[in-house]
Amino acid sequence: MPHEANVGAPTASDVGPDAAFQRFLLQGRFMLQRSRTNGAFVFFPRVAVPGTGEADLEWVEASGRGTVYATTTVRRRPDQGGPYNVALVDLDEGVRCMSRVEGVASERVRIGMRVLARIDRAGDAAVLVFVPDGTSAGGDAAP
């Protein structure tokens, strides 16, 4: 395991950004890349800032807070597990990710709903999911 300070730097590690992100999740940490020079966040993980190529990304702890940007319910048959949610979540850091909102029926997930990140362990993998944020105002508010 390399030093965390080097993870994501393109020449300084034997662990690329994809593997680093997953390793953090397996440690129970939701980390995002951020540009040292302009503070902009990046997701999904890259070796350099998309569009500019600045190779000055560092890993920082994510706030875990976000807002549902778009949502759908995939209608899986009941005998195969039933319907489930797929959502796009805008993180407060200004980046978007695909995820699912758990802890509420998928049809009740609303665009504009405030959500909190959770790390879901499934066997050897760790997956980022979200639950409704009961601690902040939000709900149906338009973004």
Partner: protein
């Protein structure tokens, strides 16, 4: 464009994608009055060939001196036409064939060489419908677009298809039928989704100096543009604005035309939300006004705009990727030989295709000789 051909449209039976593609190429060359040995430019892509131009050229037994198998999903073939026009203009080839084939329906599903997206796959979106459902959810949220307005797109497509003997679905379809059938990925029901059919298509292009030698009236490439902004739906900057907003104006500018000059329109209708997005992005209406634009049968025969006159991917044919079939329909409209309803006096067409998950956008402007 001097030749078009199709094969195996609908249910083909026990034919491989390559066999169907080769039949479509043969039909298109017959239509053009050209021999296979004259083909020296090849443009192809399928869902099942990793190196499509190599496989197609080998199968046909040709040695193209220019070929391009760029794969950007369902918009690939519109993009190929632009490249073919450039290659013909530059003298890199003299007879270009654009081809596609699929046995998706008979093979029982959408086989694909497409790679999984590691930041989406853990959430099991149903590809590609869930991506378009997410876009529809956003459009409904921002602009108040309704499920009834989405359904209008499917109903209009069916109204055209009912007159087209080649169309796969020709039964009556009402808004209520779309709303009430099985939900796949909210808010899209199975009738908001394109067909799963077999089919192959091919188009033959030559330089315009040779076009008058063709046995049928040629259709001219007047303008084209392709642009893409993302691969994964989760990386799309704004789910209600596609790159059609730049490809459309650029293609029209190349053609020296405006939307007012266009007689026939093709909009890739993989899902009912897509024509609504493209009507807005191409400029037929303002952003957010697409739902109202399509209401009251506006896209159906006799409506305000002749869109997807063959019945589109929703009701005519959709074998995995639809783009080339849209071009074939435009050529037939401009020749005055549409298999279904003919738009009287059609001399110009704008055909717009989408690929991936609203990812690639490619617009072509086509016209008869009179429009040159």
């Amino acid at each position: 464009m001097v030749g078009v051909g199709q094969a195996g449209v609908g249910v083909a039976g026990a034919w491989s994608p390559m066999e169907l593609l080769a039949r479509a190429v043969r039909a298109a060359l017959d239509d053009a009055g050209l021999g296979l040995h004259e083909v020296d430019g090849l443009f192809a892509g399928t869902a099942v060939h990793a190196m499509p131009t190599l496989s197609v050229a080998e199968y046909l037994g040709i040695r193209p001196r220019f070929s391009d198998g760029s794969m950007i999903g369902g918009a690939s073939f519109h993009a190929h036409v632009l490249t073919a026009a450039l290659a013909l203009e530059a003298g890199l080839c003299s007879v270009a064939v654009v081809a596609y084939g699929s046995n998706q329906r008979s093979a029982g599903g959408f086989a694909s060489v497409s790679e999984p997206q590691p930041y989406e796959v853990p959430y099991a979106p149903r590809y590609p419908v869930s991506a378009y459902a997410l876009a529809a959810s956003r459009h409904m949220h921002e602009f108040g677009t309704t499920r009834e307005q989405l359904a209008e797109v499917a109903v209009a497509a069916r109204a055209w298809a009912r007159h087209n003997p080649e169309a796969f679905e020709r039964g009556p379809l009402e808004v209520a039928d779309v709303l009430c059938c099985r939900m796949v990925s909210d808010p899209l029901t199975v009738r908001d989704c394109c067909l799963v059919t077999d089919g192959a298509a091919a188009v033959v292009l030559v330089g315009s100096e040779r076009a008058d030698d063709a046995p049928r009236p040629p259709v001219y490439f007047l303008g084209g543009a392709t642009e893409h902004w993302h691969r994964q739906i989760s990386a799309m900057p704004d789910l209600t604005t596609t790159a059609a907003s730049v490809s459309g104006p650029r293609a029209l500018r190349m053609a020296g035309m405006t939307l007012a000059d266009i007689h026939v329109v093709g909009l890739y209708d993989a899902f009912t939300i897509t024509p609504i997005l493209f009507l807005e992005d191409l400029g037929f209406c303002g952003k957010g006004e697409g739902g109202a634009f399509v209401a009251d049968g506006a896209l159906a025969p006799g409506g305000r705009l002749a869109v997807n006159t063959n019945g589109g991917g929703l009701s005519c044919v959709h074998p995995g990727m639809y783009g080339l079939f849209m071009i074939v329909e435009a050529v037939r409209q401009l020749r005055g030989t549409a298999p279904g309803l003919q738009v009287p006096g059609a001399a110009t067409a704008l055909v717009h295709a989408n690929g991936g998950t609203l990812s690639s956008q490619s617009t072509l402007v086509l016209g008869t000789r009179a429009t040159l």
